[in-house]
Symmetry: C2
Subunit: 252 residues, 2 copies
């Protein structure tokens, strides 16, 4: 049995709590939030606390708070030599106070409050300072059914940055498509199967090989037509920049 | 029974042939390609021809050739007053020769030669000049299990343009992510579940509501960190442009 205490009450903390309580090999000992009202509805399932000084012994302490708060929380922990991890993609491992054994347990996925999360689809990026601490975090990832990867700080930061491209920026392209179709009074829904297929395609094919379309073919006629069609200057700028990027990638 | 003859031997033509032959209500009468070798392997299943003059009567003639060739092919057809459609997203309905009844049967999806296509996930955008021709194309879409939408030319063109954003440009963002992770020697695979989830998320939520991340929050510290991290000038330009677009969309 792995005993875990969770610090924080945001999306990641809540999804981790939910998945831990479903396993047979992880027990959540305590759940801390400075605002007890955020987690008080769970008080029948776990000991909820709002004072760090009340934290008792656990195998792993998971700090799942906003990036800016991680350092202060880790400094305020009232114990030493225990395993403390944060869940952030961009915060340094060394921001954790060195009085404890330090690690990172970074779930690389988009979490929203409402949507259910299947941790089979959440890769966990694990980093530890002490080699001995790695197996325990690995077991924790296994317990929730997640794939896990040993990554160093630079690699984690590059994943976090790449995630902005494939998640936030991709979503903004969906938004632009929504604006384009809406302006002609046509349903955005028609594009949804294509959006899904585009994401599925690269599960087994590199993005390089998966590319198609006018930019890759350097189909000047269609590109010109599209640019003429675009009235919004921002859409035009995105079209031009990404068309040029595709051309360059494919040696056009 | 709807009788169809297919003109062209590319991806769309081949996938349409395959799905038509699986239905009970569509029969493919003839398949034309100017290069017979491309379709000769199908000669046990259908009459394959390489002369337009050999085309016999059918309910629908589907021209699935490259955009530039549609007009010439339609002019070269040796009959009148029959229903002729093309499958292009960007070619005008009026590029088809007016000696025949004209329409568009545009499958909005990404097709590759190898990958199997499930037409349940291929919306068909239908356009006709004659109102009477619409029901037949609608029945054809129904026969292959596709959702269908009546769209006019402007709407079809806006869908085709929007498809470039959600397919080609999104795929280029995947490519950038691949380059970023590769440069740190970390597996691109780790990002694949996030890529899929990002596409799934907007199936039931607007892209506007689905947005998260540093740009939406206007988290200047993280944005600055990311820009510093990016060494490739092209990646930097994409990061800046899309970050600003997200900020603008979300009133930051």
């Amino acid at each position: 049995m792995i005993s875990v205490s969770i610090i924080g009450a945001g999306n990641v903390a809540t999804h981790l709590f939910n998945v831990f309580t479903k396993t047979k090999t992880v027990s959540v000992k305590q759940w801390y939030s400075r605002d007890l009202s955020k987690i008080s509805s769970f008080k029948n399932k776990v000991s909820v606390i709002d004072k760090l000084s009340e934290l008792t012994e656990a195998d792993i302490y998971i700090i799942a708070v906003s990036d800016d708060a991680i350092q202060n929380i880790s400094e305020a922990l009232p114990f030493k030599q225990r395993l403390v991890v944060h869940t952030s993609g961009s915060v340094s491992l060394y921001d954790l106070d060195k009085k404890n054994r330090r690690g990172v347990f970074y779930p690389l996925q988009t979490f929203s409050k409402e949507a259910k999360v299947d941790f089979k689809n959440v890769p966990i990026c694990i980093e530890t300072i002490g080699k001995k601490d790695y197996p325990l975090l690995k077991s924790l990832a296994e317990a929730i059914g997640s794939a896990y990867y040993k990554v160093n700080s630079e690699q984690r930061k590059s994943l976090h940055l790449a995630a902005v491209f494939v998640n936030n920026f991709t979503n903004q392209l969906y938004r632009v498509a929504h604006e384009i179709t809406e302006s002609e009074g046509v349903e955005f829904d028609i594009l949804k199967p294509l959006i899904l297929e585009t994401a599925k395609k690269i599960q087994n094919l590199s993005p390089y090989l998966a590319q198609t379309g006018p930019a890759k073919r350097n189909d000047k006629k269609t590109i010109k037509k599209h640019l003429k069609q675009l009235e919004n200057q921002e859409h035009k700028a995105i079209y031009t920049l990404l068309t040029n990027a595709i051309k360059k990638t494919h040696g056009r």
